[in-house]
């Protein structure tokens, strides 16, 4: 609650989604990033949950509204409704379970079907702390990310490894896209909200307005 007021002050609000197979650690990535918490005994995510955190990019405050989704396949019909308006995604797999890596392509398709083509995607190999159990090599994952033209990072929510980096990188990239588009448009001050807007939708549509995410 104490952070509540600070939450209100931001220049940009970006909606991100966390997707990937069940049990890869999406919820713990989220809790690590937003509350610096990790729970070995976490509960299954049903449907969707969300959390927010604001970070500074350049001289701007960027608020991330992050939607965490249920991993079970059949929930995609429900969770995909929450992809709308997302400008960034973290597609998570578990480096110790190869099948979660194999399923990444389907998740990617899911994203591309339901989100804007310009969405910033970070491919995240989580549980990198379990070195002796690794089943997906960094090279394979990197190659995949290059082929699919996404960003890539290996993380450990448990060891707090790269979690901050992964989210910050996505938010920064989105910010760059948005501000570059703003520059392209020129000196139209109306194109960008300057902090006065608190409505989630307005902000997201403002992003759309400047052309980053024309549907």
């Amino acid at each position: 609650m104490s952070a509540y007021r600070a939450d209100e002050d931001y220049d940009y609000l970006f909606k991100l989604v966390l997707i990937g197979d069940s049990g890869v650690g999406k919820s713990n990535l989220l809790s690590r990033f937003t509350r610096n918490e990790f729970n070995l005994e976490s509960k299954s995510t049903i449907g969707v949950e969300f959390a927010t955190r604001s970070i500074r990019v350049d001289d701007k405050i960027v608020k991330a509204q992050i939607w965490d989704t249920a991993g079970q396949e059949r929930y995609r019909a429900i969770t995909s409704a929450y992809y709308r308006g997302a400008v960034g995604a973290l597609l998570v797999y578990d480096v110790t379970r190869h099948v979660t890596f194999e399923n990444v392509e389907r998740w990617l398709k899911e994203l591309r079907d339901h989100t804007d083509a310009n969405i910033v995607i970070m491919f995240v190999g989580n549980k990198a702390d379990l070195r002796h159990l690794r089943a997906v090599s960094t090279e394979d994952a990197k190659a995949f990310a290059e082929r699919e033209n996404t960003y890539f990072m290996e993380t450990s929510a448990l060891e707090s490894l790269n979690v901050e980096n992964a989210f910050t990188e996505v938010l920064t990239q989105i910010y760059h896209v948005v501000s570059r588009k703003a520059l392209d448009i020129g000196d139209d001050p109306a194109a960008l909200p300057k902090g006065e807007t608190i409505n989630v939708k307005d902000d997201v549509s403002a992003v759309k307005k400047v052309g980053c995410c024309s549907v």
Binding site: S22, E41, S44, I46, Q72, R74, A77, A81, K201
Partner: protein, 490 residues
């Protein structure tokens, strides 16, 4: 988990009355309000008990059936002996399960539950006629496999109760069936015996009847269930087997029990017998006891919350567990698993079951993690209930969120009761919500979105907030339960 450990937690207010851990930031407030909660709970208990007593009284005065049952009581010895044996184990099981599960005050665990098992007598008495049939038609089986024949007869007995008109033809069917069954049984008897041992060793048979005072509500609610059960029985007769399990009814997994049920439903609407039975159970019917039932008062009580020690049983009464329950069905589902597993492990035909089994395994430790009731034994129960449901209804199988339903139920009632309550909730109230397509969930989501747009145009764009289909699960996964099921928010 040790009882003392639990008590320690309660005393220190680390857990609430249901054993859920309190968040550190809430502990202070919980302490402050602890007395108020206690008073409120006492008031609730008082009101509910009053209501139930009144209902029980008025019911007794109107029903002569009760007396008939009293006479039959003497004949129930054999049956009772059998169940007393089961109960013995059950009590061990449930008493310590309750002591770790509810984690409440000293007065709660075990005792309450045992009290509630009393009505068992009455219920068994009502099954008395069935035993008569059993004796006359197949005495030898009593020796061979005590439980099998009873079930066999029971399947066909239920429709008889419902419509006396069709009694005759059904008996014929029944007789031929029994013969088939007999040969089958003798073949399977060894295997069955083994499974029986297995399941008993696993203590899956824990089942207890609800307290008699709740029978009035239970009977009311059960009248809504009867038609469904009727269908299930017919399903049995169609398949000619003792358990209406999935594999037997829906061959490839494409055609489901639900679909068959629907088909049957269509057929049944043109059936005189069903018309008759729906007339009988019609709420508005003048003769019906339901019309005298103080629904308003009950609704008021439910809205005020169900006291903790009644909650598990009230839920069961509300979904009509007594009427739903088919003897040995639950054990059968579990046994089926052990049977098919070995033979089909390397077969591709059970890809779906393997999928949901994996998901269940993932979710078991992620269901109310840290709750003292969900220790190793509690998790085994949870696994069995979920697996059994998946087998019962393969068109759903397992869907995340069901783990929280089942987990919550297991905190409040014995395992098999939890299974039947889960069946009642998911098959009736959440029909179509958790299937592979989750159609009903999607419909709710869209309807809610539309309503928000209409009623709160300023929020119109906030489709981000379409949380309604997740209403129950969200609460459940937070360790709370939905107001629609009568939980308080604490």
């Amino acid at each position: 988990m040790e009882k003392s450990f639990n008590l320690l937690h309660i005393i220190q207010h680390r857990r609430d009355g249901y054993g859920f851990a309190l968040r550190p930031q809430h502990i202070q407030r919980y302490r402050e309000y602890a007395n108020i909660y206690k008073e409120e709970e006492e008031e609730r208990s008082y009101k509910w008990n009053n209501f139930i007593e009144q209902q029980a009284k008025s019911n007794h005065s109107t029903s002569s059936e009760e007396e008939c049952r009293g006479i039959l009581q003497a004949e129930a010895d054999e049956l009772r002996e059998e169940t007393v044996f089961e109960r013995g184990r059950e009590e061990d099981d449930s008493s310590d399960k309750n002591s770790d599960s509810d984690g409440s005050t000293k007065s709660y665990p075990g005792k309450e539950v045992k009290l509630s098992e009393q009505p068992e007598k009455e219920v068994h008495l009502s099954e008395e006629p069935e035993k008569e049939v059993q004796r006359s038609e197949q005495p030898e089986k009593d020796v061979q496999l005590s439980e099998e024949p009873e079930k066999e007869v029971k399947h066909s007995e239920q429709p008889q109760k419902e419509d006396h008109l069709s009694e005759e033809p059904k008996k014929e069917v029944q007789a031929s069936q029994i013969q088939e069954r007999e040969t089958l049984l003798s073949k399977e008897s060894d295997k069955e015996g083994q499974l029986l041992k297995e399941t008993k060793a696993n203590k899956v048979q824990s089942w207890s009847w609800t307290r008699p005072s709740l029978h009035v509500i239970e009977n009311m609610m059960s009248s809504r269930v009867k038609n469904i059960k009727d269908m299930k029985y017919r399903l049995n007769t169609i398949n000619g087997d003792h358990l209406p399990s999935i594999k037997e009814t829906g061959s490839s997994g494409e055609s489901s029990v639900a679909e068959i049920d629907k088909e049957l439903c269509i057929k049944e609407t043109s059936d005189d017998n069903v018309d008759k039975s729906t007339e009988e159970t019609n709420v508005d019917s003048k003769e019906s006891p339901e019309s005298f039932f103080p629904w308003k008062e009950l609704e008021f009580l439910v809205r005020g919350g169900v006291p903790k020690d009644l909650r598990g049983e009230v839920w069961q009464a509300f979904v009509g567990v007594k009427t739903r329950r088919v003897e040995r069905y639950y054990e059968g589902l579990l046994a089926e698993e052990t049977n098919t597993d070995e033979s089909k492990e390397h077969n591709n035909s059970n890809a779906a079951p393997r999928k949901w089994k994996k998901q269940i395994e993932k979710d078991i430790p992620r269901t109310f993690p840290g709750h003292p009731a969900l220790d190793e034994r509690g998790r085994d129960s949870l696994r069995r209930v979920l697996v059994a449901y998946a087998r019962h209804n393969p068109s759903v199988g397992y869907c995340q969120a069901m783990n929280f339903f089942a987990g919550l139920l297991l905190l409040l009632m014995p395992e098999e009761n939890a299974f039947w309550t889960l069946v009642g909730i998911l098959d009736d109230y959440f029909d179509g919500y958790y299937t592979e397509e989750m159609i009903e969930s999607q419909v709710d989501q869209l309807v809610f979105e539309e309503l928000i747009r209409e009623k709160f145009p300023k929020l119109g764009g906030m489709d981000l907030w379409t949380l309604v289909p997740l209403h129950f699960h969200q609460y459940a996964s937070l360790g709370k339960c939905s107001p629609s099921l009568g939980c308080s928010s604490f």
